[in-house]
């Protein structure tokens, strides 16, 4: 698949949150206001692209040569967790403003299944290194987009009279559901027609 195809796929068609259920926790948890949503979105995008690239290397330079693909899960998550922690430390040390903006979301990314998800998906689809990187980047962008949309809606809902039991996460989920409904406009056929195969 071309790079553009990959981008469209992970931003719209197979949007991590809205059609793959990946990254739901931060999608619900960090979408209360737009500023933090954008911060989280960029942090995730950054980690996802990096993680996709590194796990590709891990897969092709260690797991496959040594024939220990069954250790995929363990090693991938180990890399991601370490990566997140290193990035957090580095950002905090070298760029306090950036840490102010993104830092508090970084620890949350370890358990963002989207990162692990896109790493596994990239490996399953036998992407090359560049494709993996682009997949990670666009999955992150798709996540950012969904988060941004969601935060806009939730900011609006903050000042509406949502029935008591639906306030907070329930209405966020319902909103997410309706968003997913609209995202059904984007299907694989659309991609095929758009970029010709």
């Amino acid at each position: 698949m071309t790079y553009i195809g990959i981008i469209i796929t992970y931003v719209f068609i197979s949007n991590l949150v809205l059609s793959q259920f990946l990254g739901l926790c931060p999608f619900i948890g960090v979408s209360k206001n737009t500023e933090s949503a954008v911060g989280m979105g960029f942090a995730v995008t950054f980690v996802m692209s990096l993680a996709a690239l590194i796990t590709w290397a891990l897969q092709h330079f260690i797991l496959i040569p040594l024939n220990i693909v069954f250790l995929q899960t363990v090693t991938f998550i180990l890399v991601i967790a370490t990566l997140v922690q290193l990035v957090e430390m580095a950002v905090r040390k070298y760029s306090p403003p950036l840490y102010q903006a993104l830092g508090i979301y970084l620890p949350l990314i370890t358990t963002n299944c989207g990162v692990m998800g896109i790493a596994l998906i990239s490996v399953n689809k036998s992407y090359g290194p560049m494709e993996s990187f682009i997949a990670g980047l666009s999955a992150g962008a798709g996540f950012l987009m969904a988060l941004l949309f969601m935060s806009g809606i939730r900011e609006r809902l903050d000042t509406e009279k949502v029935p008591k039991f639906l306030q907070g996460t329930p209405i966020a989920f319902i909103s997410g559901g309706l968003m997913a409904l609209a995202f059904m406009a984007f299907d694989h056929a659309l991609l095929t027609n758009l970029i010709g195969g």
């Binding site: 260690i62 040594l66 024939n67 220990i68 250790l71 363990v74 090693t75 180990l78 890399v79 370490t82 922690q85 290193l86 430390m89 580095a90 905090r92 040390k93």
Partner: protein
């Protein structure tokens, strides 16, 4: 044989890999160490996070900062947190709490329901006491009473106040944290802070003369002084046409009898707050 080779390969590579990552993290954590003020954070965690301002600081974090910097050593400022917060703060800071503070709760000093009180005009506008009060001090004849439009209901941080449905509001004293926001926002000043263990209460706020009060509300205190004169130990003091029950420094006898003797029946028995 092949299996064993694989096991060894897996074993060795993972060990090395994990050890390397661990080493990397350990080095990074040493090199990239950033000091952060954990004291404020942990103090802030102990506070209830309501940001009600009852402590006199701008929100819980302000109080936490003041405590952390030892600017302030009074750990009993947080009314909402109650004894639990006090003891937590005490444990963390090693400071003694001033346990003498009496828990205060808000009560509505008005019995002027739609039925009891005379309306002067029909107010049309935003349903909020503040706006209603801007028009001739509210739609009730009595300008001291509860307007019933719920400025207090809306601004109560713990939703302890609710509408009664007949033109007044009511405080749930169990939920009340004593932050006094309702007292501040009420334009007629009809919310009063009284001790949580109070038993009787003069539920009126009118300083009008008896004749006027009588013409405006069937349940208004007319300042007749029966409670004050006949039951001197109860603690009733009438000033400016209004009886107020004092709770400290008096024996408190005869409160019930005074209530029975009160002509407009504006002295009411109140439930004591459940101590949890």
């Amino acid at each position: 044989m092949e299996g064993i080779v694989r096991i060894i390969a897996a074993f060795l590579s993972t060990t090395v890999f994990a050890a390397l990552l661990g080493l990397g993290l350990a080095i990074a954590s040493r090199k990239l160490k950033v000091e952060k003020d954990e004291k404020v954070e942990s103090l802030n965690n102990l506070l209830p996070g309501l940001n009600c301002g009852a402590c006199g600081y701008a929100g819980c974090e302000g109080y936490a900062e003041a405590l952390a910097s030892e600017e302030d050593s009074d750990i009993s400022r947080c009314g909402p947190g109650g004894a639990e917060t006090r003891s937590n703060l005490s444990a963390l800071l090693g400071l003694e709490a001033d346990e003498s503070a009496v828990r205060m709760v808000a009560r509505l000093a008005c019995l002027g329901t739609d039925e009891a009180a005379v309306k002067e005009f029909q107010y049309v506008g935003y349903a909020d006491c503040e706006s209603a009060h801007m028009q001739f001090d509210g739609d009730k004849g009595c300008k001291y009473g509860c307007l019933g439009l719920g400025s207090c209901v809306k601004s109560c941080p713990v939703n302890a106040i609710d509408y009664t449905g007949d033109g007044l509001v009511v405080v749930d004293p169990d939920k009340c944290i004593g932050c006094e926001i309702c007292v501040a926002v009420c334009p007629t000043g009809v919310m009063k802070m009284i001790p949580a263990d109070a038993d009787w209460f003069v539920s009126c706020n009118s300083n009008d003369k008896a004749k006027i009060t009588k013409s405006l509300c069937t349940a208004g205190c007319i300042g007749c002084r029966i409670c004050e004169r006949k039951f001197p130990d109860a603690g009733y003091v009438v000033t400016d046409n209004l009886s107020v029950l004092g709770y400290t420094g008096v024996r408190g006898e005869g409160r019930a009898a005074a209530a029975a003797a009160c002509p407009p029946k504006c002295i009411i028995q109140i439930d004591k707050v459940k101590e949890d």
